[in-house]
C-alpha cells in the first residue's frame, strides 16, 4: 500500500483508483459548502425573527423577560467550552496524542449532553407554565408573544436537533480515533466535525442575545 506521504498527495488523478480517493482540500471545500447551507437554513429563521421583531417590538421585549437568563448564560458557557475541547482534540491528534484526543472528544460530548439536559429543564419549566404552541394559557396572550415563543421553540428546537446530530457525529469520531481510522496524518474527518461543531456553537451565540438578552 501507499505511504503516508503519497496519501497526502492530492494529485490522485494519475493514481489507479478513482472511486474512493483521498482529497483533503476537496473534503474541506465540501464541508464549507455544507456549512454555508446550514447558515442559510437558519438564515431564513433569523429573517423571520427580524421581520416579527420590527412588527411586535414591545411584545418581544415582554416575552424575553420570561426566559431564564441564568440558564441561558450557563448554556452559552457550556457550548463555548465545548468548542474549546473540540479544537483541543484536533490539536491533540495532530501531535499524535491519541488518548488525549479521545479525552477531549468525550469532554465535548459530555458538554453537549449537559447543554441538552439544561435545555430540557428550561423547556419543561415553560411547558409547566403553559407556555408552548397550542396551549390555552399562551393562546390568551397577545399575537406578538405567541410568535415570540413560536420562534423560540422552532429556533432553539432546530438548534437542539443540530446539537443532537453533533453528538452522534462525535460518537463516530470517537470510534474512528480509537480504531486508528483518524490519525496524525489523516484527521480531516475530525477537523470537519470540528467545523460543524463550531457552527452549532456559533448559531447559539446569535440565538442567545436575540432571545434572552434583548429586553
Amino acid at each position: 500500500m501507499s505511504t503516508a506521504s503519497e496519501l497526502q498527495n492530492t494529485e490522485h488523478l494519475t493514481g489507479g483508483h478513482a472511486h474512493i480517493h483521498r482529497d483533503d482540500v476537496g473534503a474541506k471545500l465540501g464541508m464549507w459548502l455544507f456549512l454555508f447551507t446550514e447558515v442559510l437554513l437558519f438564515g431564513g429563521m433569523f429573517l423571520l425573527y427580524m421581520a416579527y421583531r420590527l412588527e411586535y417590538t414591545f411584545e418581544f421585549q415582554i416575552s424575553a423577560k420570561e426566559l431564564d437568563m441564568a440558564l441561558g448564560t450557563v448554556n452559552t458557557l457550556i457550548l463555548l467550552t465545548s468548542s474549546l475541547t473540540m479544537a483541543l482534540s484536533i490539536a491533540a491528534i495532530q501531535r499524535n496524542k491519541k488518548t488525549l484526543s479521545l479525552i477531549f472528544i468525550i469532554a465535548t460530548i459530555s458538554l453537549a449532553l449537559a447543554f441538552l439536559v439544561n435545555k430540557y429543564f428550561e423547556w419543561s419549566a415553560k411547558f409547566h407554565h403553559g407556555i408552548y404552541p397550542g396551549a390555552t394559557e399562551l393562546a390568551e396572550k397577545s399575537n406578538g408573544e405567541i410568535i415570540f415563543f413560536g420562534l423560540y421553540y422552532a429556533m432553539t428546537g432546530l438548534h437542539g436537533l443540530h446539537v443532537l446530530i453533533g453528538i452522534v457525529v462525535l460518537l463516530f469520531m470517537l470510534v474512528f480515533v480509537a480504531r486508528n481510522k483518524i490519525t496524525a496524518d489523516n484527521y480531516m474527518k475530525l477537523e470537519n466535525s470540528g467545523l460543524y461543531w463550531h457552527l452549532v456553537d456559533l448559531i447559539w451565540i446569535f440565538l442567545f442575545p436575540l432571545f434572552y438578552l434583548l429586553h
Partner: protein, 550 residues
C-alpha cells in the same frame, strides 16, 4: 492492485462485475455513470406517472362540468402533477442524469469528488419520492394544496395528507443540496491537467452554475417547509394569520428558493444546447465566454427576482417596481444565449440529426415561453393575466418546451455513449415532429384562454371557453402519442445490438474520445487538455485526425 487497475480500465461500466451482484450492483454502486442511469430510470418512471396525471386533468377539461373526476380529485391531480413534475423530474432532471454521467468525463475525471455522497443523494431522492407520493394511498386523501403549499390553507384548513409530501419535498431538497455540493467540489478539484475554467465545455459551466444555486437557494425552502409542518402540527403561529403570523412572509421565503429553482431547471438545458449546436454545426461555438458568463449571471440575478410571483399578494409599489425591473434584466443573459446559438448555426455545416431537431424545437418553444414570461414580469399585464391559464401556458412552454425537450435532446445526443447502442433515427424524428405539433396544440390555446380570463386550477369552465379547451385536450393526446413513439424507440434501442461507434456525431468534447459505453474509470490515462472544447479549426489546421465514424 495492478491487475485490478487493468481490469477496471478495459471493462465497460455496464459489464463490470464488482462486489455486488444483480440489482445490488446498481443500487449500491458509487460509479457516477451507474448513478446517472439510476436517476434516468427512476426519473423516467415518475415522468410517466406525471404525464398520466396531466392526461387525466386534460381529459376532465374535455367537457363542461364533471367529465371523469370531481373537483376534489381534480385538486389532488394538479397538486400531484406539480409535485412530481417539479420536485421529482425537472429539478433533479438534467444535472442528476446527464450531469452525473458526463460532468466527470467532460472535465477528464474518473468520478465525482464524493462518490458515496452521490449514491446517498440518489437514495434520498428515492425516499423523498416515496414520501411525496405516499399521501395518495393513505386515509385523508392525497394533498390538494397545489405544489406551492400556500399557507394558511396548507396549515389550517385542508384535511388531506400534507405532512408527508412536505417531508418528501424537504428530503428531496437535501438530496439536491448534496448533488450541488458534490458538483461544485468536483469542478474545483478534479479537472484534468490543462483543463482551465475557460477550456471547460459549456455544459460543465451550466451544471456548475446550477450547482451553486442548488447549494445557495435550497436551504431556504427547507426551513420554510419545516416551519409549515410545525405550523400544521403545533400551531406555532409563525405564518398563521389567526395567531398574528404573516402568510406573505411564507410566500417570500417559498419563492426565494422556488424562483431560483426555475433556473436550476433551465440552466442545465441551456448547457446541453451549447453542446449539441457546435457538434451538429461543425463549428466553434459563437461567444464562448459570453455564454459561460451568462450562465453565471442568470444564476446570480435569478436569485433576486422572486417577488414577481407576488405582484398581487400585497407588496409595496417600490418592491414591485424593483422586482419587475430585475425580472426584465434576466431576459438579457437569456437573450445573449439564444443569439449566440443562432450565430453558431450561421454558416455552419449543419447535420440535421435528431438532437439538433430537438434543439431547434427548443429554441422556438423557449422563445415563446420567454417572451410570454415578460408579459408576466411586467406589473400591469401581470395583474390582468395573473392566476389565469396564461401562467400554466407560460411555464409549460419554458419548463416542458425548454427543459424536458432538451432532456429528450440530451438522451438522443448521449444515448450512443451511455448504452453503446444506436436508436432508429427515422422514428426518433417522427416522434419529435408529432410531439412538436401536439405540444403547441396543447399549450398555445392556454395563452388565449388565460387572456380571455379562464382561471387556472378550476375543474370546470364557462361555455365560451369550450372550443379552446377541447383543442388543448386533443393536443394532449397527440403529444402523448409522440412521447410513446419516442420511449418505445429508445427501449427498442436499449434491447438492440451494441453498434454505436465511439464518436457518432463528430463531437470534440472528452466524452467522445472514450469508448461507447465508457470503461469503468472513464480514461485509460487522464488526458491533457491543450485546446478549447469546440476548436474545430484546431483539427483542420493541425490536420489531426479525430475519430468520426458516421
Amino acid at each position: 492492485m495492478n491487475s485490478q487497475v487493468l481490469d477496471v480500465n478495459s471493462v465497460d461500466y455496464l459489464e463490470y462485475k464488482g462486489k455486488h451482484k444483480g440489482i445490488l450492483a446498481w443500487i449500491l454502486s458509487t460509479d457516477h455513470k451507474r448513478i446517472g442511469i439510476l436517476y434516468l430510470v427512476s426519473l423516467t418512471t415518475f415522468f410517466v406517472v406525471g404525464v398520466l396525471l396531466g392526461f387525466l386533468m386534460r381529459f376532465e377539461m374535455l367537457s363542461q362540468g364533471k367529465t371523469i373526476v370531481d373537483a376534489q380529485t381534480y385538486n389532488a391531480l394538479f397538486t400531484l402533477h406539480g409535485i412530481i413534475m417539479i420536485f421529482l423530474v425537472i429539478i433533479p432532471g438534467i444535472p442528476a442524469v446527464f450531469g452525473n454521467f458526463f460532468l466527470p468525463i467532460q472535465i477528464g475525471a474518473k468520478d465525482v469528488a464524493f462518490p458515496r455522497l452521490n449514491l446517498l443523494s440518489w437514495w434520498l431522492y428515492l425516499i423523498g419520492a416515496i414520501f411525496a407520493l405516499s399521501s395518495l394511498f393513505l386515509s385523508g386523501g392525497p394533498i390538494d394544496t397545489g405544489w406551492t403549499f400556500y399557507i394558511p390553507y396548507s396549515s389550517r384548513y385542508t384535511s388531506t395528507n400534507v405532512i408527508l409530501p412536505l417531508l418528501g419535498a424537504f428530503i428531496l431538497g437535501f438530496s439536491s443540496i448534496l448533488t450541488g455540493l458534490n458538483f461544485v467540489t468536483t469542478v474545483h478539484r478534479l479537472r484534468a491537467p490543462g483543463m482551465t475554467f475557460f477550456k471547460m465545455p459549456l455544459f460543465v459551466w451550466a451544471i456548475y452554475s446550477t450547482a451553486w444555486i442548488q447549494v445557495v437557494a435550497t436551504p431556504v425552502v427547507g426551513i420554510t417547509i419545516i416551519l409549515v409542518m410545525l405550523e400544521r402540527l403545533f400551531y406555532v403561529g409563525i405564518f398563521d394569520p389567526t395567531l398574528g403570523g404573516d402568510p406573505i412572509l411564507f410566500q417570500h421565503l417559498f419563492w426565494i428558493y422556488s424562483h431560483p429553482a426555475v433556473y436550476i431547471m433551465i440552466l442545465p438545458a441551456m448547457g446541453v444546447v451549447s453542446e449539441i449546436i457546435p457538434t451538429f454545426a461543425r463549428r466553434t461555438i459563437f461567444g464562448y465566454k459570453a455564454i459561460a458568463f451568462s450562465s453565471l449571471s442568470i444564476a446570480i440575478i435569478g436569485y433576486l427576482v422572486w417577488g414577481h410571483h407576488m405582484f398581487t399578494s400585497g407588496m409595496s409599489d417600490t418592491s414591485r417596481w424593483i422586482f419587475s425591473f430585475l425580472t426584465f434584466i434576466v431576459a438579457i443573459p437569456s437573450g445573449v444565449k439564444v443569439f449566440n446559438w443562432v450565430a453558431t448555426l450561421y454558416k455552419g455545416s449543419i447535420d440535421l440529426g435528431t438532437p439538433l431537431i430537438y434543439v431547434l424545437a427548443f429554441i422556438f418553444l423557449f422563445s415563446i415561453g420567454g417572451l410570454t414570461g415578460l408579459v408576466l414580469g411586467s406589473i400591469a399585464t401581470d395583474i390582468h393575466v395573473h392566476d389565469t391559464y396564461f401562467v400554466p401556458g407560460h411555464f409549460h412552454y419554458v419548463m416542458f418546451g425548454g427543459t424536458i425537450f432538451i432532456f429528450f435532446a440530451a438522451i438522443h445526443y448521449w444515448f450512443p455513449k451511455m448504452f453503446g447502442k444506436m436508436y432508429n433515427e427515422k422514428w426518433a424524428k417522427i416522434a419529435v415532429g408529432i410531439m412538436f405539433v401536439g405540444f403547441n396544440m396543447l399549450y398555445f390555446p392556454m395563452f388565449i384562454l388565460g387572456y380571455m380570463g379562464m382561471p387556472r386550477r378550476y375543474y370546470d369552465y364557462l361555455p365560451e371557453y369550450a372550443g379552446l379547451h377541447i383543442l388543448s385536450t386533443i393536443g394532449s393526446w397527440v403529444l402523448i402519442a409522440g412521447l410513446t413513439i419516442m420511449i418505445i424507440n429508445l427501449i427498442k434501442a436499449v434491447r438492440g445490438p451494441k453498434n454505436a461507434p465511439m464518436n457518432p456525431w463528430g463531437g470534440l468534447t472528452l466524452e467522445w474520445q472514450v469508448p461507447s459505453p465508457p470503461p469503468l474509470e472513464n480514461f485509460r490515462e487522464i488526458p491533457e487538455i491543450k485546446h478549447g472544447p469546440y476548436d474545430y479549426h484546431y483539427y483542420e489546421e493541425e490536420k489531426v485526425e479525430y475519430e468520426h465514424s458516421k
